[in-house]
């Protein structure tokens, strides 16, 4: 790999060829999450991100790189209000995706963490 002059933080790295199994599972149920371009509209409007720092954009990032522990904590903060759904420029069904993520954790529990 060529040296670009800066390092990569492993836990923030997203390998698009090897996305986490949880992401694949959620993608199957909610295909629209593939359209997320991390614009941050959702985080800007999120009710809980103001207090907890977690928005939908962050959830998708954590889901993609498999940071399940952080993801689970961020997921628990969601108030499910649906503001992210209304501001999303890509029309992603965010609430369904969050529900699906919560379900994935319920289903797989400790195996994933």
């Amino acid at each position: 790999m060529p040296d670009f002059g800066f390092g990569i933080q492993d836990d923030l790295m997203i390998d698009h060829d090897r996305l986490s199994p949880a992401y694949e599972a959620v993608l199957e149920e909610v295909p629209s999450i593939a359209g997320c371009m991390s614009c941050g509209s959702c985080s800007a409007t999120c009710v809980s991100s103001f207090q907890s720092g977690a928005g939908f954009r962050k959830l998708i990032m954590l889901l993609k790189n498999g940071s399940y522990e952080q993801l689970q904590q961020a997921l628990d903060y969601c108030q499910f209000c649906g503001k992210c759904l209304l501001v999303c420029p890509r029309g992603i069904n965010t609430r369904r995706a969050i529900l699906e993520m919560r379900k994935q954790f319920k289903k797989q529990g400790d195996d994933m963490v």
């Binding site: 103001f50 997921l75 628990d76 903060y77 503001k83 069904n93 369904r96 529900l99 319920k106």
Partner: protein, 609 residues
């Protein structure tokens, strides 16, 4: 009794016994599922007065189907002729056999196959001949309904149904048996009278027209056996088909009149879902019906609940919960509560953590009016700004609870089935709102208002902002600057159907714009499509529903669409067909002066003096 008689009555009798057996088992199971308190309540409700009103309703709705009459006349005739006609056929048939035999109690097959057992006997006296004609008239009545039922399968639009309900295999088999019963009876009676004489104006005349050799009289016997088989077959498949509603509507009405509903006892779901006749009226009132990709309509949802496989998550979550189906249901099945119970059963155990809300611990300063915009109002800042302007104008002592740090009322969590999480968030929101010790709580979001009124139990009144504005107008505090913009008002589902607030927003709008839909019909409001209850529809589908609703609402010369819900405003703005404004925004614009009303009044009084 000859061996042939035994063969004749066997299918019918067996079917009847199977039906009674299965029915007792099922009813016993459903009754056991009821909450013990509600069992007692049901028992107490069986007093003479209430029983009488229940019997009246059973007669009106199970037999005459009067609620369908008020909606779709042709569909009503079809349902009524089959239900009431069959009831009359049984009752009059029994009375006929009583007159003939002189015994009040007799075996059921004696009256069902009365014409077979009395073949060859001359009908003596006017009353016995009258019975023949009466029975023919009733059979004709039923056959006319059956013809309509058959025609409905070909052309459901002529019955006022946009989409024909698609039945599953169980229902088709049961329907086939049902469709055979009455033509078989007609054929059996006609052949009976052809060989043995007698009969009324229809079967008797048709019998006389047929000239068949006597050695073919076994044809009549075969037709009677066919009648018996179709009756028995129908009885056997009935408990597993939609025709279960014929009998289950009776306990459903008794439960309903004892105020035992699905929202407080999910045990009555068994009775409720089997009382649904799958008439398809709800399918017609559902706004998702025009979209092919949507399959969560109450019609299909309830039917799937009856099946052993149950409802898929997709179907369960694909519903706007606008309440149109429930409002139009002729059986009054509480589809919304049943769906809510299923959602809670599925999603209640999901994890959540709202402890961060507690850490804030900020007290809101004391004020007389607490204004709670809710999440959706934050997306339409114009409403908040307008309300501030209005409050300032009336010199109110108010505080905006969630202007900077918003907090959810919890209804989206509740609607998704996460009830535990909902009650957790409710605790924090309630505390936050009450921390300013208000005398009055005003919200601009009907979704929040529904939640506040249903579960929050605030010690002070909670009203919608349109109600506040209306109270200002009725106090004569507004100098109304009425514009001539032709406006149509849209009733948000939560405000209209859920809370019954129809007239207040209209009264406000009548004073500030040219309102085109001053009259309204309760429960007829259209959903904007953006409902937070739906988790399956994508952006395009929601927009399509919004477009459809706007087209139905507006007139060719309408210039503005007014609504009283921030979510409806956002959703209706998406198709970009017509400008959409909130009632508060229109009101704030109509205030021509900026100084508070009290100062204005004082100045006016000074000038008059």
């Amino acid at each position: 009794m000859t061996w042939f008689n035994v063969i004749l009555i066997l299918p019918f009798t067996l079917g009847l016994f199977v039906l009674l057996g299965v029915l007792s088992v099922k009813y016993y199971q459903w009754f056991r599922a009821l909450n013990p308190r509600n069992k007692l309540r049901l028992w107490k409700s069986l007093s003479r007065k209430e029983i009488l009103s229940s019997i009246t309703e059973i007669f009106r709705e199970c037999l005459l189907h009067l609620r369908i009459y008020h909606q779709k006349r042709r569909l009503w005739y079809m349902h009524m002729s089959l239900a009431f006609g069959w009831f009359l056929l049984i009752v009059v048939g029994h009375v006929e056999s009583v007159f003939n035999t002189g015994h009040i109690l007799s075996s059921p097959w004696k009256s069902v196959f009365f014409d077979y057992f009395s073949r060859g006997q001359e009908a003596t006296g006017w009353h016995l001949q009258g019975f023949n004609h009466l029975m023919d008239l009733i059979l004709l009545f039923i056959l006319s309904g059956l013809f309509l039922a058959f025609y409905k399968r070909i052309n459901s639009r002529s019955f006022g149904l946009k989409r024909r309900p698609l039945h599953n295999p169980h229902d088709r088999i049961a329907m086939l048996f049902l469709w055979y019963i009455f033509p078989m009876r007609f054929i059996a009676e006609t052949l009976n009278h052809a060989f043995y004489g007698g009969g009324g104006f229809m079967t008797g005349s048709f019998g006389n027209l047929l000239t068949l050799p006597d050695n073919l009289n076994y044809l009549s016997d075969i037709a009677w056996i066919g009648y018996s088989i179709s009756l028995g077959g129908f009885f056997v498949v009935l408990p597993w088909s939609r025709y279960m509603h014929i009998l289950t509507e009776v306990p459903h009405i008794l439960l309903k009149n004892a105020h035992i509903q699905a929202y407080q006892d999910k045990g009555c779901t068994g009775f409720n879902i089997h009382a649904c006749s799958s008439c398809g009226i709800c399918l017609d009132s559902c706004q998702m019906t025009n979209l092919d990709s949507c399959n969560g309509q109450s019609y299909y949802f309830i039917r799937k609940l009856r099946e052993p496989s149950g409802v898929s998550e997709n179907r369960m979550m694909n519903c706007l919960m606008c309440g149109r189906c429930s409002a139009d249901c002729p059986v009054q099945v509480d589809t919304l509560s049943i769906r809510m119970n299923e959602r809670i059963r599925m999603n209640d155990d999901l994890a959540f953590d709202y402890s961060y809300l507690d850490q804030q611990g900020k007290k809101v300063p004391h004020a007389r009016i607490a204004f709670f915009g809710g999440c959706m109002t934050q997306l339409v800042p114009g409403v908040t700004a307008s309300m501030k302007k209005i409050f300032d104008f009336y010199d109110e002592d108010y505080v905006m609870i969630d202007e900077t740090e918003s907090i959810c009322c919890g209804r989206p969590l509740f609607l998704s089935g996460q009830k535990r999480a909902y009650f957790e968030i409710m605790k924090y929101t309630r505390e936050r709102i009450l921390s300013c010790k208000p005398d009055l709580i005003i919200t601009s979001c009907p979704i929040c208002l529904t939640t506040f009124r249903n579960h929050y139990f605030f010690p002070v009144p909670v009203i919608h902002h349109t109600q506040y504005l209306e109270s200002m107008i009725s106090q004569g505090l507004l100098p109304p600057g009425q514009s001539d913009i032709k406006t149509v008002y849209h009733d948000p589902c939560e405000l209209g159907r859920y809370l019954g607030i129809y007239s207040e927003p209209r009264r406000v709008l009548r004073n500030i714009v040219q309102l085109q839909n001053k009259a309204y019909k309760q429960n007829q409001g259209l959903c904007c499509g953006g409902s937070i209850a739906d988790l399956e529809m994508d952006f395009e589908e929601k927009r399509s529903i919004a477009e459809d609703a706007i087209q139905q609402l507006i007139y060719p010369d309408t210039r503005l669409l007014a609504t009283a819900c921030p979510l409806c405003k956002v959703t209706f703005a998406t198709p970009n067909i017509i400008p959409v404004r909130d009632v508060a925004e229109l009101y704030a614009e109509s205030l021509s002066v900026t100084i508070p009303a009290r100062e204005l009044a004082a100045k006016e009084a000074l000038m008059q003096n």
